[in-house]
């Protein structure tokens, strides 16, 4: 007889679904209704045991159907319809039992976790989601347990400390806290947004707390990505501002020198001696070269960025390339060369580009070094087979967090700030060139007063 009641209820329920224009075929709708109503047997059987007959049923049927309707809608269609007609007035005992079950059902369908604990942190109740997330089959299995019974010690302690704050201060609080939940039989760390309020007893004493938590792990992950991207962007903006400042300085200084000299000579050329004119022409020539060098750097960098640099890889002798650079810089620094135990000095590389790398590194060593002593050393790498060129000079050590950044465009390390003639492009150009040769470039702090910039070129 009971099954036939459910059948009747299900048919009526399905009719209501149709009336409300939910796109549900009859068979599926009926199946869902029956499935759900069978689950609700506990509620039905209470009514039955309490002496309701089939005849009595119609009087409360509407409410029951409304309730089932709302629950099914929320579970299967993501619609949250509150059980509009749950209004049982037959007797108090039944009313209380049914209300409790209805309340538990409402808590179970709520998005998020609901729980309440006593003053010692023992769970007094919770919704199904909360119990399942901690690996319990039902709500009753969690009741009486504490977080420390199933969570790792550190996490349980943190949660307990948060709970203690609510209980001792008697104030509700919104907080982000970490916990672990079981997903596919594995504990996974999650971030929850929790609202916790103290539970106040009849004598106005705190008897525990009630909490609602929502999983915000995805949002937290996005927040972290956003934070790191913001940091990257602001750093990149800082590099670019520094770059523009240095570029402005690098262009305006030689321009000022050239324009001042030209103007002065135009007005008073007769007052200059031959020696003075020679001296002035040297200054003009140096500053002209400085502007051309800057322009070449900028164009190289722009071409690197566009991937438009062409490489002319030929067989060459790396020792000859190094010696050529040493000769070029010999009037500015005391550069020694050590071939070490390298036997095969013939490599395939773009000689012009590798010369540019060595020049840039030597230029930096002279600019930022503390003495004019520079050592170029060659080493042979076995795995992968490559030649390593190390350029050592005396200077401040590279801070650990700058070791990779110094190869970024526009980056100027602590050692380079406030120094002249630097726009933070030299090493980024080197990185690009070495990358095209499938080699590596890196820096080492040899001792507190010695640094080394190294790069490798693989044997083909």
């Amino acid at each position: 007889m009971f099954v036939s009641i459910i059948q009747k209820l299900a048919i009526e329920f399905n009719n209501r679904l149709k009336k409300r224009n939910y796109n549900l075929n009859e068979e599926k709708g009926l199946k869902l209704s029956i499935e759900y109503l069978l689950e609700e047997c506990a509620v039905m059987s209470i009514w039955y045991e309490e002496g309701y007959s089939v005849d009595v049923y119609p009087s409360i049927r509407n409410e029951a159907i409304e309730y089932c309707f709302s629950v099914i809608m929320s579970q299967h269609y993501n619609h949250l319809l509150l059980p509009a007609g749950v209004n049982f007035k037959k007797n108090n005992k039944q009313n209380s039992l049914v209300s409790e079950l209805v309340m538990q059902k409402i808590l179970d369908i709520m998005p998020g976790h609901v729980y309440w604990k006593d003053i010692n942190g023992k769970f007094l109740g919770c919704n199904k989601r909360q119990a399942e997330n901690y690996g319990f089959k039902n709500v009753h299995s969690l009741i009486g347990k504490e977080d420390k019974d199933f969570l790792k010690e550190g996490l349980a302690k943190e949660i307990k400390a948060n709970d203690k704050k609510i209980i001792t201060t008697r104030t509700e609080q919104l907080m982000e806290e970490q916990t672990s939940v079981i997903i596919n039989n594995k504990w996974v760390k999650k971030w929850m947004l929790s609202h916790k309020s103290p539970l106040i007893g009849e004598s106005n004493e705190v008897i525990g707390l009630v909490g609602i938590s929502i999983d915000i792990s995805k949002q937290k992950k996005l927040e972290q990505i956003l934070l790191s991207k913001t940091e990257e962007l602001s750093l990149s903006l800082e590099y670019k501002t520094n770059f523009l400042n240095m570029l402005s300085h690098e262009i305006r200084t030689p321009l000022h020198i050239i324009s001042s000299i030209v103007e002065e000579m135009k007005q008073n050329i007769s007052s200059f001696s031959k020696k003075e004119i020679d001296n002035i022409l040297d200054i003009l020539s140096d500053n002209n070269k400085r502007l051309i060098k800057l322009l070449t750097h900028l164009l190289n960098s722009a071409n690197n960025a566009k991937g438009q640099n062409t490489y002319n890889i030929t067989n060459g002798n790396i020792v000859d390339t190094c010696i050529g650079c040493i000769k070029e810089f010999s009037c500015l620094a005391n550069i020694s060369f050590n071939l070490g135990e390298v036997k095969n000095i013939n490599l395939s590389y773009d000689e012009i580009k590798i010369t540019q790398v060595i020049r840039n590194i030597l230029d930096n060593a002279i600019k930022y070094g503390k003495s004019d002593i520079i050592k170029i050393k060659l080493e042979e790498l076995k795995k992968p087979k490559a030649i390593v060129i190390k350029i050592e000079n005396t200077g401040n050590n590279f801070p650990e967090d700058e070791k990779e950044k110094i190869f970024d465009n526009f980056f100027q390390g602590e050692n380079a700030k406030n120094q002249q003639n630097g726009i933070g492009l030299g090493l980024s150009i080197c990185k690009e060139i070495i990358g095209m040769h499938k080699g590596k470039i890196w820096v080492d702090n040899i001792d507190p007063q010695t640094v080394s910039v190294n790069f490798s070129i693989p044997y083909v």
């Binding site: 402005s248 305006r252 200084t253 000022h256 002065e264």
Partner: protein, 123 residues
């Protein structure tokens, strides 16, 4: 005859400035670092001769801003002018807060240099 203290780490700038100032009829201490400038300013006799200071912003070891801080700390009341290749408002604001009277952006003309000297030395 008063003297001008001119600080710039670029030697060619010092050479050119020497040319410009002598053709304007001024005498100057032309120095290539903040440290040398502090040594000159620490000498009372030399400090009294100096009626105007021109300083660069971007210098190694002691930057223009650090030199300005040193000048303030030592209670030196000589008008200071920033002469720089950096046209960054933030940097100029920082220098203004540290007490510069004026600033001039490279490249500047001999006449602009002269006007500033006249304005701040009541020559």
């Amino acid at each position: 005859m008063f003297k001008i203290l001119f600080i710039d780490d670029e030697i060619p700038i010092l050479k050119v400035t020497k040319l410009l100032l002598s053709s304007l009829g001024f005498q100057a201490y032309l120095v290539s670092s903040g440290k040398i400038a502090t040594e000159i300013l620490s000498d009372k006799a030399k400090q009294q001769e100096i009626k105007i200071i021109f300083l660069d912003l971007t210098m190694p070891k002691m930057s223009g801003l650090e030199l300005l801080e040193w000048i303030n700390k030592n209670n030196i009341k000589i008008p200071t002018i920033l002469q720089t290749g950096i046209q960054d408002k933030k940097e100029i604001e920082k220098a203004k807060k540290l007490g510069i009277k004026d600033y001039i952006i490279k490249p500047y003309s001999k006449e602009q240099l002269n006007q500033l000297i006249v304005k701040y030395t009541d020559k």
